[in-house]
Symmetry: C2
């Protein structure tokens, strides 16, 4: 299914949004800082974002894409600034959801104005722990404040304000992006028609909390971590790589890993009997870890996984009761889970849909059979694309 | 189920094997070393073992217990030497399977002579990477040879030889211990009546390989690791703790973790919004990691997880075909899996039973419903105990 079309469109393809140039906007200043969910505030806040397609006159064709842990604002097309900004990985492949966004694609840029902003605390152009702390002139490191999913959604709402957009056609995201989509439906019910939640539940499982804890542990015990003050020296690359390796296991499924790697040895017939790379799956994880440290900041990883931990829609809006929280929802909602996803398991994803159902609110729930685990939300683009296309284009049912 | 009886018998309880004294035997010398599966040999080899009950005159009442990754020969009772040998954790609790071994218990020491030996490469009295290399007088570290499940089983067979035991009533083990039980049935089919395999499959899954790789990565990138030469200085405690934290997640199940910890905060009502311990599950993992480094050697962790990776019964005995391998089996076999075990999932455990079935060999397979994940083989002692008791005591069916 996932292999029926190439997932890379060259810039001059009629399916591609072509070359893109990330933009930056100052959403808060030091004097008028951005208030934070957990108390306090931060300023300045600069936000990197990208847009695709054209905002129509009625300003009612906006689709907001919310990105996941290691994602960024560069959703589709080819970043024209990749080399100039030293973000060389962007010169090698198009945006992370290029399969979904473009002319004629499920989020059709011939029709919709698609917006995505890098969230606070990340390392892709929006203010984060690697940004200069205006009080010291040095990178924040761990003096950066704790940020939350709620902050990100408020940040996105501010960006839409700045773009003159009062109401959006849809918000859509997968994984941690899906949790932002849930938060959008709860925090700004009057600002959106449709909410699409892929591979995400209203709160992370206990097992998910546990994996995040181990990932942070490997980073914080890296000798280069130095309490988060490593920007003048070597980064805690080993710790971040280990965290990423671990996370990658949770993005796949055991059947999927079996299909892809089995117990195959890497580049040899007989085992070498060593602690180096023996099995193909070890080589894969090693590669994933090393590639990640080239493009991600360890402190950002800490902050973002913590935001993932803390998010709890029921606690935030319903005093612990998800049905109570869902009374707020005014949009049509579609929840899509993936059968072999064990990071945000179908049963957990379904909770949001079930709560809406109990209230008689319009909700579509689909569990997509897949062996790709959590990654399926990106990999199963035929099924996801067709679900998303109909849901976004259909008439609104909620009122 | 698992909470219906205390799992600790004091030394003077009629159910306890009482005080025990670990014994050591030299199974190979430098001059006449122990040959290894992957080539080469090692000597001297000293093996720590314990026995419980009495060997009968016919020498036909022996049950061999095979231990798992972090286990040891101290299966039951209270180690009288705990303080003298500095293994203080043994002064705080009885052997790791005290629920199973003792007078009147499922492995009834009133009837059977129970033997368990610490395996080669471990750090509990048997020769391992922390033992002195006779060529240098210093600890082996990574100059210790790669050891395998096959080596451990051969080592156990030699110990039985030394004890004058030609044939055993049963071998029993869980997890990596279960893989040794499988290997016993294949390598020494003529030496055992019964084989009991708990929570183990004939080979580790791809996902299991992946988790082991990450665990080793955290150890080997610890700044104190120093290529395995750390015995004169601080141990790679952070890396080993992270590896253990990760492994612990794989020993539980998501429903089990949810039951036990949920998203409960540790010792507070409101989150502290920090990277310290916030959630109860984080506190649990932190404790598990710290406790482990007090009692385990990081190099041993590397060697033992590698042995776990390499073991593949079908490759070893059937040219890749498990049914072919199983033609060798002459014992009655019982395989017990646990419904929420995802380290050795039921479907994988069942493969051994299915292969034996296809050959018309006597095999009992039970999947125990449990929310305790892989740990269930230790925790569900009522069910496991009753299965084991009948299986061991019943007349032999195979011929």
């Amino acid at each position: 299914m996932a292999t029926t079309r190439p997932d890379v469109d060259p810039p001059d393809s009629p399916c591609s949004v072509g070359w893109t140039v990330p933009q930056t906007i100052r959403l808060a200043t030091r004097e008028d800082p951005f208030p934070l969910e957990v108390g306090g505030s931060i300023g300045p806040v600069d936000v990197e974002y990208e847009t695709y397609g054209e905002l129509n006159k009625a300003r009612d064709n906006v689709i907001l894409v919310t990105h996941a842990l290691s994602g960024d604002a560069h959703v589709a097309g080819w970043d024209k600034t990749a080399e100039a900004t030293g973000r060389l990985w962007r010169a090698r492949k198009p945006g992370w959801w290029d399969t979904m966004v473009g002319p004629g694609k499920p989020l059709d840029t011939g029709r919709y104005f698609v917006v995505c902003a890098n969230f606070l605390g990340s390392c892709y152009g929006t203010t984060g722990p690697s940004s200069p702390n205006p009080s010291t002139g040095k990178p924040y490191g761990l003096s950066f404040p704790v940020v939350t999913v709620e902050d990100w959604v408020r940040q996105q709402a501010r960006l839409l304000d700045a773009l003159g957009v009062a109401r959006i056609r849809a918000v859509i995201g997968g994984s941690l992006g899906g949790q932002q989509a849930i938060e959008w439906a709860l925090a700004y019910p009057e600002r959106l028609d449709k909410c699409i939640v892929l591979a995400a539940s209203p709160r992370l499982s206990t097992q998910g909390l546990a994996f995040n804890a181990v990932g942070r542990q490997t980073i914080m015990s890296d000798p280069n971590f130095n309490g988060g003050c490593y920007y003048d020296g070597p980064a805690p690359a080993d710790g971040l790589a280990a965290a990423r390796m671990l996370a990658h296991i949770t993005y796949l499924s055991e059947p999927g890993m079996h299909d892809k790697f089995g117990r195959r040895l890497q580049d040899r017939e007989q085992p070498a009997f060593s602690f180096g790379i023996e099995f193909a799956v070890e080589s894969y994880l090693d590669h994933q870890g090393k590639a990640f440290v080239e493009r991600f900041d360890a402190n950002s990883y800490l902050y973002i996984t913590r935001a993932m931990d803390y998010y709890d829609a029921a606690a935030q809006w319903g005093g612990g009761d998800l049905v109570e929280a869902c009374r707020r929802v005014q949009s049509d909602v579609m929840v899509v889970s993936f059968s072999s996803d064990w990071l945000y398991p179908p049963a957990h994803c379904r909770e949001f849909a079930t709560a809406l159902c109990q209230l008689g609110k319009p909700v579509t729930y689909v569990d997509v059979p897949s062996r790709y685990g959590h990654d399926a939300f990106l990999v199963e683009y035929d099924v996801v694309g067709s679900l998303v296309r109909s849901f976004v284009n259909n008439e609104r049912r909620s009122s």
